[in-house]
Symmetry: C2
Subunit: 421 residues, 2 copies
């Protein structure tokens, strides 16, 4: 009987609090089928490691270490921002990948990433076929932006949603208690370059009239300075303070990012990133109100300590399902989250073709946004609420969360042919 083929797992793009839970699902499931899947290799720094023949042998990691991936944020094997383009444009990279697969007898490719990565996985499945070394390619969904089509939600989003909603609720109480003599307006900047899902999730914190946040600035709604200032003014007059959540991707009516339109440093250079200080300055100039601002940046997508239990379970389930699909011979597919009901929240794993998810972005539907553009509707709440459900705390030692430390032992090179990335 022939030796079973090996598998390659790679993480791609911006990491999340739960992408390692997907890795855990892939590896633990593969280990249960040693008759069909030999070794599971991981690309060091994602696809870049695959191209450089720098593979990690996950078989050298203990069961406890792999188990610990379930509660460890970031990309444990390293991730990469490295987009493979069209089959012709990036011909050399695609062919190199197939050579690597051949050299290490890799028959399964699990690519854990967003839309771009699903496109890559899809193309790899095509070219491997064409080159006479067919590899089963299965995508594993991942993105904090929640912008993948078809799947009801994306692993990674629920946890950042829980973090931003919790954080703005807490900061909102802080501002409310100081507003009489101190800060009147607080602005929290969150991620979401194109889609407003994370900003919308901040809205979950408000349960009663007057609760923070009072204003959401979504990338789907062009920024109207006068309307915004009037809303801040009215909110401060009514509640004594105003809490704003703003998306890093907020744009002016002429399509420019606010984060790139405002600040200049002492040398006159544009200050990239930081729409919160731009909004804060606006509030200061127009309303002369005391303000504070925060930029969560990586804190929000790395915050495993306040991860959503639902998100962790879905991330793990997607990794597990990817391996099960591959074992059933499904190729060029990706597991999806299918919502069966909102209340009680019920979900199951579905399957879609990679070509259908590749390079598409799912924006916040207009009917998820209130008429004035500054809030979320009941329909949006119904969709978002279950995704932040449940807590799944990591183990703590000495007051700090304990995260996996892998050995990341390299697989001996077999091809040993230089390649530039």
């Amino acid at each position: 009987m022939a030796k079973p083929k090996n598998a390659l797992y790679a993480q791609s793009g911006g990491v999340t609090a739960v992408i390692n839970a997907s890795a855990c699902g892939v590896i633990e499931t593969a280990r249960k089928h040693k008759d069909k899947i030999g070794k599971v290799y991981a690309g060091r720094d994602g696809i870049v490691g695959a191209l450089l023949e720098d593979l990690i042998d996950t078989g050298k990691e203990s069961a406890a270490s792999i188990r610990a991936l379930r509660h460890t944020p970031s990309g444990a094997f390293g991730s990469a921002r490295y987009k493979l383009k069209g089959l012709e444009e990036s011909k050399a990279q695609y062919e190199r990948l197939v050579q690597i697969f051949k050299a290490h007898s890799i028959g399964y490719f699990f690519y854990n990433g967003g839309g771009d990565s699903q496109d890559t996985a899809w193309k790899v499945s095509q070219i491997s076929e064409k080159m006479g070394y067919p590899v089963i390619c299965v995508g594993v969904p991942k993105t904090v932006d929640n912008d993948l089509p078809i799947t009801d939600c994306c692993p990674g989003f629920g946890s950042v949603a829980k973090y931003v909603a919790t954080s703005i609720r807490e900061a909102g109480l802080d501002v409310a208690s100081m507003a009489k003599t101190s800060t009147k307006v607080f602005i929290l900047e969150v991620m979401g370059r194109h889609a407003g899902w994370i900003t919308a999730a901040c809205g979950l914190a408000a349960e009663q009239d007057g609760d923070a946040p009072h204003i959401l600035l979504l990338p789907e709604i062009k920024f109207d300075q006068e309307k915004f200032i009037a809303k801040v003014d009215a909110t401060v007059k009514k509640y004594g303070h105003c809490v704003v959540a703003v998306s890093e991707g907020l744009q002016t009516s002429d399509g420019k990012f606010l984060s790139e339109s405002g600040l200049r440093d002492a040398f006159g250079h544009a200050q990239l990133g930081g729409v919160a200080p731009v909004i804060a300055n606006l509030v200061k100039d127009k309303l002369k109100l005391k303000y504070h601002w925060a930029v969560a940046d990586y804190l929000q997508r790395a915050a495993r300590h306040i991860a959503s239990k639902t998100d962790v379970e879905q991330a793990y389930a997607c990794g597990k399902a990817a391996v099960e699909f591959a074992l059933k011979g499904h190729n060029a597919v990706m597991p999806t989250i299918v919502r069966a009901s909102d209340k009680p929240y019920k979900w199951k794993i579905g399957m879609t073709k990679l070509e259908d998810v590749a390079n598409k972005e799912k924006m916040l539907p207009r009917d998820y946004i209130t008429a004035d553009g500054f809030g979320i509707t009941a329909k949006c709440r119904r969709y978002l609420a279950p995704l932040i459900g449940g807590e799944d705390y990591p183990p703590f030692k000495g007051g700090l969360p304990q995260y996996a430390r892998l050995k990341k032992i390299a697989v001996p090179k077999k091809l040993n042919i230089e390649f530039k990335v």
Copy 2:
């Protein structure tokens, strides 16, 4: 037998994740001694409410609501940035307070705040004596800055310390996993205008060689641009990335705040706050490295979801002890935290005179800082480690922490004389 005197409790200055735990300690303890303490009033928005005769009757809050204060961040009764100056300068305010005390037969004053507030409490005890209406004044320590003298630590600090150390560990893993093709330098700005305790606490996240954070920029050490850039460069060359924690109070050699020296907005106005983007621009200009930055701002001091169990217990114990001191007739004193041992960590409540804590700041000792000024020593770790010990999660509902909602019913006015604050 005479009706027992009432008590006034007021929160002062910047709030914390655990100041309400002290309020809980004060109110629950007073409720156990109704024979000696009548009603417990709270100043709405701190001392400002007291001056305006806007008092909250905490007796109207259920036992469950008061209990919930223990896990609720911010200042539940409202706090104020309102400093009473010298007895002559602020004569009108001090006399007004005593009139309010008289009108509402308040015999105990519990003032929950930092150095300034302890100074105020001390002066109130003196003037009330002088005006023939002696009030027992007891301070309750509170500050995220950990800069009060005599007490080993300050309620509020341990929780912000746990939050920043956890956050920079998580963000550090994120950066490490992306560094090969993306962000090389990450900068987290934390609080601490004068004292570097919070920035130092970030250092607890690093347990092994190469762990984030790699550089701490403390307010106690004047910023040396060349030394800093060289250190970042060396760190990126050695580990592939560099994580920096910077204090909002970082100063240049000529004593200027970096946060006020760098950025200009589009109109050329100084951008107050935000030393992280200033440092980030510096890294970009000098080293041409991809950077990201975060400013935690209020998120850090409001983050009750990741509070230190030790901190919560000490905050409660200080509130409880303040009432017990008052009942024993101690006047113009404040409970302190006394450290009995580091390992295992043992602490008890002590007592100090208000005049000894008033208006003094405790900075980070030089021997808590490494020779190069960019890190913390073993001695500093030994001091800090126990303060973040233990988790004390708030109750969650629907994926979000549930915090106390008080009725805050006003006490009927008795003095009814206008007063301007």
